[in-house]
């Protein structure tokens, strides 16, 4: 009975729910914007990494390696707390979006590169032989096939980005976790944290399932 009152306190949960939902919305928005920017940046990086001039290929490789190595929390703190010293003061949303997308586009670039490299040479040759230019070859022939191959790892990356949004609470971002901790402090009861955990699961479990589904479908298609 005591356990129930402590962790699953209905009145506390009901009071905290509007705050939690606000937090959830912020989390989803932050995740979606970062995933989108990460994809656009990742695509650009992947193409430069594969087809750019030599110096640019080296540069993108360094970028990709660096941003896959740096802990996201460290990067986030750097962006939010260090950049103001050089006069660049970002809102917590902008700082979190920047950190998340900088890292996400490094991962996305590697995923897309693998997908593009998996396309047989004959596809490039056939596209070249009918006179398609680079952009048309990519848009019409290579990327549609490459994207299909990398749907599972891309979805995995989206899950990681969504999960990592919780780190944004460190820079005072009113995301789901931040709202939950605040509600917990207010109510002197951990139920809002349980609620937040449940909401995270509600958001992410279907996506995890989706990756499994895509992988199974891909296995079936390539068998």
């Amino acid at each position: 009975m005591d356990l129930l009152n402590t962790f699953f306190n209905w009145p506390v949960f009901r009071d905290a729910l509007p705050l939690l939902l606000q937090g959830l919305w912020t989390t989803v928005l932050l995740g979606a914007v970062s995933i989108l920017l990460g994809f656009v940046g990742g695509l650009l990086l992947a193409l430069l990494r594969l087809y750019g001039p030599a110096w640019l290929r080296t540069l993108t490789r360094i970028y990709i390696d660096v941003f896959r190595s740096i802990p996201l929390l460290v990067l986030l703190v750097l962006v939010y707390y260090a950049l103001p010293f050089v006069g660049l003061r970002l809102t917590s949303f902008a700082a979190a979006t920047a950190a998340l997308s900088l890292v996400s586009c490094a991962y996305t670039a590697e995923i897309l590169r693998a997908g593009i490299e998996a396309i047989p040479r004959g596809q490039f040759e056939a596209a070249g032989a009918i006179g398609l230019g680079f952009f048309s070859t990519m848009r019409d022939v290579v990327l549609p096939q490459a994207l299909r191959i990398v749907v599972p790892p891309l979805t995995s990356n989206c899950i990681n980005v969504l999960k990592d949004t919780a780190l944004a609470s460190v820079v005072a971002m009113p995301d789901l976790l931040k709202q939950a901790t605040q509600a917990q402090a207010l109510a002197a009861n951990p139920t809002p944290l349980i609620g937040a955990a449940a909401l995270y699961l509600l958001l992410l479990l279907p996506l995890v399932r989706l990756v499994g589904y895509f992988e199974a479908r891909h296995r079936a298609a390539t068998r």
């Binding site: 596809q123 040759e125 056939a126 070249g128 032989a129 009918i130 398609l132 048309s136 019409d140 549609p144």
Partner: protein
């Protein structure tokens, strides 16, 4: 009269292996040239140099007077040179119709309607109008290769290159592809064909080119080529393949 395809002193090597030694070849408009020779003799390499799918180290290739080199003009030359590959290389995520329409749509900037009409007409020409909306994976090898021929034709190229177009096919499908090619030859399309189908070469070629070890050994009209080859190596090759 200048040749449609003009190759002079073509040299190509992979590392220390020289695949082409000083190859000269001219192909006139409307001519059907069949290139034969043992595996590794450089025949595929030769025709892949014509649209620069292979880079080469020496010599020059001209298509309709235009020098084929890397750079801005390359896509334009390639649009004038159709190519049919051994492994079809259809775009697997597009229907047969979309495969054929893509070139006219993107390279010739035709309106979608017109490009698809042309594509359908060409699919009809190769006997596949009823398969227009299938994906390559739903078609047999012979059907895929006929779609690939239609795709090359859609650009209205000045010349069509065939790189062993029937080598990846099951025997029962070779005929349907060769029939399409023979019909094209009759309508005056300029063609350069690398193949092992000697019967086809005999029936359809205006000229047969025999290559060995990266060199053109002999070329002649099919009649005299098959009946009375002059070079010893040609004789040996023909004897080896025509024995059974």
């Amino acid at each position: 009269m200048t040749a449609l395809i003009h190759i002079r002193g073509l040299c190509k090597s992979y590392g220390s292996f020289q695949a082409l030694h000083n190859v000269d070849l001219d192909v006139s408009a409307g001519e059907v040239v069949v290139v034969i020779g043992p595996s590794g003799s450089g025949k595929s390499t030769l025709i892949r140099c014509i649209n620069l799918l292979e880079d080469y180290q020496g010599g020059e290739v001209r298509v309709d007077g235009e020098k084929v080199v890397r750079g801005k003009g390359l896509a334009k030359v390639r649009a004038e040179v159709g190519m049919v590959f051994q492994s079809f290389n259809l775009f697997p995520h597009m229907t047969a119709l979309a495969n054929v329409a893509l070139g006219p749509l993107r390279v010739r900037h035709m309106p979608k309607r017109a490009a698809e009409e042309r594509a359908l007409a060409l699919l009809d020409k190769v006997g596949l109008a009823s398969h227009a909306h299938k994906l390559p994976g739903q078609l047999s090898g012979g059907q895929q290769q006929r779609v690939a021929i239609a795709r090359a034709l859609a650009m209205e190229p000045k010349v069509l290159l065939f790189d062993e177009p029937t080598s990846a096919l099951d025997p029962e499908m070779v005929g349907e592809v060769l029939d399409v090619m023979q019909n094209l030859a009759r309508t005056g399309v300029t063609m350069v064909i690398v193949t092992h189908e000697m019967g086809f070469a005999r029936r359809v070629a205006d000229r047969v080119v025999f290559m060995e070890a990266g060199r053109v050994i002999e070329q002649a009209p099919p009649d005299s080529f098959f009946r009375a080859p002059r070079e010893e190596r040609t004789q040996a090759f023909l004897q080896a393949i025509l024995q059974h």
